[in-house]
């Protein structure tokens, strides 16, 4: 008896290929990132963890790597330069960071609610330093901070002698001209001024974006109820801007703690008089690439990561939750 096969004929090759390419396409499309991330992102982190438990000078080859346990970390805990770099970094992070935000919020408010023309050119002007090479900017600021002929000192001397502004200086006028980059007490303020100048515009833009999400009706309603501009700022703008403040401050914490280019250039790569301008990132660079202590440098990078993580968590704990609640 003849058995007839009633099964469907096999799919033509082209259809099978089509199904196949459709299934693997997304994986193929995202694979370049994951391959590069594995090699240049994930592996370095794991390896730097491993390296932080080793003593190793790269000149002598991979074979000379020696397991030393926690020695690198223990050594750093007793290292005065490491602690100085930590306090320097925190000092600069706060001195440059806090004024940035205190200034950026009202400025963004003024830009988006106070004026109607030139909004974009003004924002662009404030923003420009953010996209400029930090090295180029630091070099220009090195001339601005010059002791005898720098623009900043000349401006300060002018203001200290002008009859209408002399009172502002009080007894400070005799300290002029300031040796900004040569004397230890002035190096951190100089770096902070530069960092503040370079990044406040970025925060203005962030806050302007946050302000744009606040419905205009709120202000109109407040105005009808007789609220002043000041009252709407404190009772409408600030509370609703809170998630953005939280976010922008987080970015500042993460960025400022990794500060490298600006202090490196302003102090000529040395950290300045008695390392007053040496940040953790600079200390990490010098330990690894000048003194060739790769294991210790890797340990510094993990301690810095720990510091960034701790401060971010503290920030989140104190300011994050309420920010999250008001978002929902």
């Amino acid at each position: 008896m003849a058995r007839t096969t009633t099964s469907v004929p096999p799919l033509p090759w082209s259809t099978r290929f089509d199904k196949f390419q459709r299934r693997i396409a997304p994986y193929l499309f995202i694979s370049p990132f994951f391959i590069l991330f594995a090699v240049f992102g994930l592996f370095p982190i794991v390896f730097s963890m491993y390296l932080s438990f080793q003593a190793w000078n790269p000149i002598q080859g991979l074979g000379t790597m020696r397991y030393v346990g926690l020695e690198n970390y223990v050594w750093l805990m007793d290292d005065p330069w490491f602690w100085r770099s930590i306090t320097n970094t925190l000092w600069i992070a706060f001195a440059a960071g806090i004024p940035q935000h205190l200034m950026a919020i009202p400025l963004a408010f003024a830009l988006s609610r106070g004026i109607s023309s030139f909004r974009h050119p003004l924002t662009a002007a404030y923003f420009l330093p953010y996209i400029t090479s930090a090295v180029a900017i630091a070099l220009v600021f090195q001339t601005i901070f010059g002791t005898q002929f720098g623009a900043l000192n000349q401006a300060l001397i002018y203001l200290a002698n002008a009859p209408w502004s002399a009172w502002l200086f009080g007894g400070l006028a005799e300290n002029l001209p300031v040796n900004w980059l040569g004397r230890a007490p002035y190096i951190k303020p100089a770096i902070s001024i530069l960092v503040w100048w370079q990044f406040f515009g970025f925060n203005v833009v962030l806050y302007a974006a946050g302000l744009a999400t606040i419905p205009k009706d709120y202000y109109e309603a407040a105005q009808i109820d007789g609220a002043s501009g000041r009252q709407s700022f404190f009772h409408i703008t600030l509370p609703l801007l809170r998630p953005m403040i939280f976010f922008a401050v987080t970015l500042t914490i993460i960025g400022n703690l990794q500060l490298f280019d600006q202090p490196f250039i302003l102090t000529g790569g040395t950290g300045g008089t008695s390392q007053a301008g040496m940040t953790v990132a600079m200390y990490l660079y010098r330990t690894g690439f000048e003194w060739l202590e790769m294991g210790t440098a890797a340990a510094i990078s993990w301690l810095l990561f720990l510091l960034i993580g701790t401060l971010t968590v503290i920030h989140f704990y104190f300011f994050g939750r309420s920010g999250l609640e008001s978002r929902d």
Partner: protein
Amino acid sequence: MRLRASPFGRGGDDARSGRNLFGTVILYVVLIALALLTLFPFYWMFVLATHSQSTIFSAPPPMWFGEFLERNYNALLARLPFLRNIWNSFYIALMATVATMFFASLAGFAFAMYQFRFKRVLFGVLIASLMIPPLLGIIPYYLIIQYLGWLNTPRALWVPAMASAFGIFLMRQYVASSMPRELLDAGRIDGASEFRIYWSIALPIIRPGLATLGMLTFIGQWNNFLGPLVVLNQRESYTIPVALRTLQGQVQTDWGAVLTGTALAVLPLLIIFVFASKQVIEGLVAGSVKG
């Protein structure tokens, strides 16, 4: 965080009734003065680039352009292979930009358009990778480059930068918000392969976003300092920032030459910014204010 990522969205109007003219004028004066303060260092950089060592260091400092630009430029070329350094910066930034535009839009397209297994996990890894401070891997990065024999080559810098998580994230947002899923199905019905759909349908749609990503990548690579400082140690292979840094270390720093080099380093960015500041700013904000 759900935020409309435009700093130029809606705003107030000072023509509102009840706002006094005096207050508005004061506000403009303050805002413009601050803008001038922000722009002053740029102006001064160009001024000093045209002055000699002795006029740079004089009181009061020069505030208008001088005649030493050519001398400074020649002094710069005498100390450094500066045209070569400019070329290196340009080449690295260009390669990274072209590669990022391609790979990031491809991956962003995949994350926005497809449902596939492990998608959430993989996207989570991508976002988590944005949180890693770049300094954490700097020592192993140097060792990898050394192991590959890439020290002092442009590859050392543009290959690792080829597919940035930031770029993929940005492109995913653009694709998700501008390309309807029906187009994907329409392409399939017409018999196009998935890559063909990306190339012929998605790419033209996201072109504005792609241009923004391109500019941001170029700017980031052009300004990069720590990476080149670590893996480039020959004058011929330096990028501009590293080259400028070596001038600074010399006993008698020739500031005219340094500032001429600095001005040349900043000029391309100024040009991009003059023509596309809105796009650059909005792109950076959209990238920072995630999701």
